[in-house]
Symmetry: C2
Subunit: 413 residues, 2 copies
């Protein structure tokens, strides 16, 4: 019997804790696994020996494990730490892991985090160290290769589509001409922006224009598009990716000229910039809306499909590690759309680490201002289902590591 | 038997259609009421004879009426039209109403809309015209007098509190220092901003600072407050009202200097301005978040208490009109907090028209950067309960006037 350790890394999603819950449940129910530990703030916390005993927290507490499954963001805390891959760092990590008699290492994260799984498994395999290193994928951006769609994407997609639909209702009540520009996350891949298309009912047409970073953005064509839609509709709703770039490859948000106090151009603001363009060129009422981090952790409107898949992927990864797989991540393939079904499997981490999956050209319309039926069919099943989120005092009752006593070390707040 | 007409006016809320549904149900179930009409775009639409036959749409369709009850924004469309009060305009209105044999006139709106109820009822009463004019209150701002709390406020409060809680979860995962400034609506009254306090659990402390427009805003004290909270917390969450003003009475958002293309200072942006202040004075990571119109129409996270009260107030107003009241609006008084209960009554519209209720000084802490226990006890019951919103294709399936065939006249889109 060996112990297990789990970490989370990268940006938050609504369901990364569902994967944690799935991994914990699989670990608790296996007689091959002793104690389950969690890294506080991912690999960075592990290097500082900052752990929590997850068995203590969740053993024989199914309702707490269910709360974890339905809580957004990251129970264990995150990091954005990239392993150097140098022997000294690896030796330090292995020494800590061996100190806790770890046999199974589970890391939940995006393409950067899968780099950690890759480097660590390469090292353990080449040095004959008996620790199975596996990954569980996540990202709201849906830009991971080797998987039909990323856990976290479905919930963020549902959030964006809900927002767009509600903004459309909000603005439709007035009889004056207006334009609303909603900015969705996704620096290089437009999946989340594209998912806003689901806000459309059969003949309620918002969003009227959708711009992805996969297509070079022309300000002139944008103004023409908006002008044309304003002839058809009183209230025009535009969804634009934060990552749209002009023909020269310059980010539109960079045109705002805003810099942080380190002199870096600030990310985000494409919608604010385009608001000014519409005001200047067309002169009607315009609003820019940037839901920003609200779209990453909107547990109150998460997708049940997404929650369940993330949970299952956590369990599949643990099973893979128990079966002796190392350097693999859990993944899913879509078997059919109607009825929607997927199958789970393990895939070599090389296909996902440090790569990016972008929206195929064929799923964007010719004019580059909308998406096609293929995109709708692809995204629609991913937002289905309403989880039974526990409520208390009128608000979702999420779990929080700061309210636990069973911590091995205090959370460094 | 006389006919009834209903209109909606002002800004949207998550539950103004609940009041419409309540008024329709009360009208349909009374044998004193013949046909129920709706004004398309409020009093402005009525002046253009733009009506819809609501009896045709909702009679014997309880599930459609229930969808209406759970759909945000305004089914009938809105206007921001203020009656001049001159005889010519009044005569035109009365002529149209008499043409449809209207005996009961129901107007759902905020303090400006209650001005319409006031002017119209003054005219009908003084001219001996047999039309009962009543109002149903609504506003997310909660700034109406003569009512314990406004329908629409509870749902917006729940939205803001959910956002703040989720942003707190989102940001807590990183171990670097950061400040998030969330801007809530409310130009002169800080109720909605204050409601963000509900995001707090017992010892999870976000929001850490709350600034209402009732207290003059000092930039210097704000910086000191934030600096102090950063010593206690990694991630500091600030909620600020869009309407905060400095000691001279100048709106903070006006300091951004942004103007629309009519040369008017743009409303909103206090958070963006304060973000720059924190960057300059403290120099940590800062984000400004402006949920903007998302907080008005967030039907996907509405409060069941709010939905039911808004529905009941629609019915109470109709009953009042049937009982011969004119120049009155339906209102509610809180009887107790534990258990929470209210009683419904009718009140003279003079107490609400063109007035504003602000947060009492005693409900704000001494330092002016937080609220007191009284505020928490007041708001908490208003966000309770989760409505059974109908979902379809993964999204709330709201009702939309554009999908109906029973319209008397096409919606002017």
């Amino acid at each position: 019997m060996k112990n297990m350790i789990i970490g989370q890394s990268g940006g938050p999603t609504a369901v990364i804790n569902s994967s944690l819950a799935g991994a914990i449940e699989a670990g608790l129910s296996s007689d091959k696994v002793g104690t389950i530990y969690g890294m506080i703030n991912g690999i960075e916390g592990l290097l500082q020996d900052n752990l929590i005993n997850l068995s203590d927290v969740f053993q024989n507490r199914p309702s707490e494990l269910n709360r974890l499954k339905l809580s957004p963001a990251m129970f264990l805390g995150s990091c954005r730490y990239k392993l150097s891959g140098q022997d000294e760092e690896m030796e330090k990590l292995i020494k800590i892991l061996e100190g806790y008699e770890i046999g199974y290492f589970v890391y939940i994260g995006g393409n950067d985090s899968m780099d950690t799984v890759q480097k660590l498994s390469n090292y353990t395999i080449s040095h004959g160290i008996d620790i199975q290193i596996v990954g569980v994928p996540k990202t709201i951006d849906n830009d991971l290769n080797g998987i039909d769609h990323s856990p976290g994407f479905g919930s963020a997609a549902k959030y964006i589509a809900s927002c767009v639909r509600e903004v459309a209702y909000d603005t439709s009540i007035y009889s004056i001409k207006s334009v609303h520009i909603i900015e969705a996350m996704g620096r290089n891949a437009g999946w989340l922006t594209a998912a806003s298309v689901l806000a459309r009912k059969e003949d309620l047409d918002a969003p009227h224009l959708i711009y992805l970073p996969e297509i070079p953005f022309s300000e002139k064509r944008f103004v023409e598009d908006v002008r044309q839609k304003l002839e058809e509709y009183n209230s025009v709703i535009v969804v634009v990716s934060e990552g749209v770039k002009d023909e020269k490859g310059e980010y539109i948000y960079a045109k705002t000229g805003k810099q942080d106090n380190f002199g870096h151009t600030q990310i985000g603001g494409a919608s604010s910039y385009l608001k000014e363009v519409v005001e200047r060129e067309i002169g009607c009422k315009v609003r820019a809306l940037e839901p920003s981090v609200l779209q990453r952790s909107a547990g109150h409107v998460s997708s049940l499909t997404d929650v369940e898949e993330a949970f299952n992927l956590g369990g599949v990864a643990v099973q893979g590690a128990l079966d002796g797989k190392s350097g693999f991540f859990s993944t899913l393939r879509r078997i059919s759309n109607k009825p929607y079904s997927v199958e789970y499997t393990m895939e070599n981490v090389d296909v996902v680490a440090n790569t990016e999956k972008r929206v195929p050209r064929g799923w964007i319309n010719k004019s580059g201002n909308d998406v096609t039926r293929e995109m709708i069919d692809y995204v629609r099943p991913l937002i289905e289902g309403v989880p039974q989120t526990p409520y208390r005092g009128g608000l979702p009752d999420y779990i929080d590591i700061r309210h636990l006593d069973a911590r091995k070390q205090p959370y460094r707040d």
